[in-house]
């Protein structure tokens, strides 16, 4: 956990510097006439100080007991593919329309979750149909028509 905390601490310090630079550019104003950069500047300074404290404390904790082992067995490929599929869904929704993109995406995600082919097809079709009824018909949400035209 010490290494994780050190990494996060450095991230916060870097973020704090970026926030402070931009806040000064925006103009913090003065206390009597606060400008748009005042609150972000306050956040940046506080974040930087706390980040440095976290970083400093990791050195004090190094001698205390065993380091928590890094988590093993994480299915990184599954996580990354899931995230990429979410972005792909959003981008292809405009092109293909709700029904087709939902059907394809559900099929992909179900197979990623190791569902059998029959279950995948059935579940994807039922979910796509239910989504259309619930969101487009019942709630009246407008979706891109896509290549099917509805």
């Amino acid at each position: 956990m010490v290494k994780y905390d050190r990494v996060s601490a450095l991230f916060w310090v870097a973020m704090a510097i970026a926030i402070c630079v931009e806040s000064i550019r925006l103009g913090p104003g003065s206390l009597s006439v606060p400008g748009p950069g005042l609150i972000p500047l306050g956040c940046g300074i506080s974040l930087g100080i706390l980040g440095l404290i976290v970083f400093a404390l990791t050195f004090k904790r190094m001698g205390e007991g065993k380091e928590v082992p890094r988590e093993k067995g994480i299915q990184w490929q599954k996580l990354i593919l899931t995230l990429v599929s979410l972005i792909a869904y959003a981008f292809f929704l405009n092109v293909l329309g709700l029904q087709i993109v939902t059907l394809i995406w559900m099929g992909f995600i179900c197979r990623l979750g190791k569902m059998g082919w029959r279950g995948t097809v059935f579940f994807s079709v039922v979910t796509t149909f239910s989504c259309y009824i619930l969101f487009a018909y019942c709630l009246g949400i407008r979706f891109p028509r896509g290549i099917l035209g509805f």
């Binding site: 956990m1 994780y4 996060s8 973020m15 926030i19 931009e22 925006l26 206390l31 009597s32 006439v33 606060p34 748009p36 950069g37 005042l38 609150i39 972000p40 956040c43 940046g44 506080s46 974040l47 706390l50 980040g51 404290i53 976290v54 404390l57 904790r61 205390e64 988590e71 067995g73 994480i74 299915q75 599954k78 996580l79 899931t82 995230l83 979410l86 972005i87 869904y89 959003a90 981008f91 929704l93 405009n94 709700l98 939902t102 559900m106 995600i109 179900c110 979750g113 190791k114 569902m115 579940f123 979910t127 989504c131 969101f135 709630l139 009246g140 949400i141 407008r142 979706f143 891109p144």
Partner: protein, 495 residues
Amino acid sequence: MDVLGHLAFGFSVVLTLSNLGYCFLGVLVGTLVGVLPGLGPAATIALLLPSTLHLNHTSAVIMLAGVFYGAMYGGSTTSILVNLPGEAASVITCLDGHQMALQGRAGPALGIAAFGSFISGTLSVVALMIGSTLLSKVALRFGPPEYTSLIFLSFSILIYLSSGSTLKATIMAIVGIFLGSIGQDLITGDARFSYGSLTLLDGVGLVPVAMGTFGIAEVLENLESEARKGSVLHTKFKNLLPTLQDWKDSIGPIIRGTLIGFFVGILPGGGSVVSSFASYAVEKRLSKHPERFGKGAIQGVAGPESANNSAVAANFIPLVSLGIPANIVMALILGALMIHGIRPGPLFIQDNPDLFWGVVASMYVGNVMLLILNLPLIGVWVRFLSIPYRILFPLILLFCLIGVYSLNNNIWEVVIMVIFGVVGYLMRKFRYEAAPFVFALVLSPIMENNLRQSLLMSEGDFSIFFTRPLSCSLMIVGGILFSLPIFPWMRRKQM
């Protein structure tokens, strides 16, 4: 008498087919969410936020409130049967509830949890009616310095009560405040941290952030490995009605739990989790046989389950009277109201009587629905625990996708949601809590607005927060809570 008249009006609002339907949908989803470990009321309300855009504001809040208190009912089921809390406020119920189940008394445990929740839920709604109207009158004396101080107190309580590191919770709150400042400055109109993006000019957006941080991150964490958690206790529920002795043992804890839950729930930062723990501690302290706690004492179920339900109604008081959410769930409900262009505050009840009294009346109706749902249908709810996660997670993700997209038909908001899904996942890995972060995101614009107004009033003099009595009291309490962790932290070198 005035209150009764308003309540009758509230019933006329809720007793329509559509609002009854939304109330039922809310408590049904809430119970399901409470039963299923992994997805709590906060994440569910975040997922439902986009749907509320297409409802009228009264129906939306009725439904979301139903999800919240429904989850309190449902959470006890898994605590008792699986020793796995369905949501955080039912953690303490595991201690004695599961032991009762192992002793063949799952029925009375489930029964007293349901009845206790019903009694406390009903009583606390009465107190909500009276408390809100009283606090609204006090809130009229609140100015920008008092609001700033109250928000500071809320942050202090939330950070103090965080289960992990206080330092990390503070960092999360600061990051949340910063993210809330992204977009167009309300006073000067300057674009802040938007870098030319039209999406970011409107701000980061509560819905994509909440859905990413709670919904997507939760799914990613569960997808990491395929370990199955817990196994359902297979038992026949012979008798869900507690015996006379059970009632004698439980009535005191139920009443005390109701009071504890209510008063803890009013406090900004207070909520169902804290109240359930407080109730358990009180019952154990007052019991003539404290050694029985942890081994199947029915008081250990009755008190906490009553407290967590009572806290739900109490949580609404600071929201409707002051416009300040007591916890993350209330922050999301505040977000839902703001989506509909409603800003709670001292005049909220006066300006939106249909909304306030409709929601109050819906809580009475919802509590009755929950009693019916939770007792005879226990067997049905238990079956839901057997649904494989590979069926649940695609539905959760799809709900997130369509929900966020439907807000503004903007794919970039989906991208923001995915980014915060990764951020939320990393937060869990690095042991940072999401609640202070999202809480701060919601309150950031309110806090900044009031802080800047206060500084304008005082011409930059911070003593304005200490020269006004109410503000000074809030600041002092907040300051004490904020600095308390420093002392054990320095002694024990804890981070």
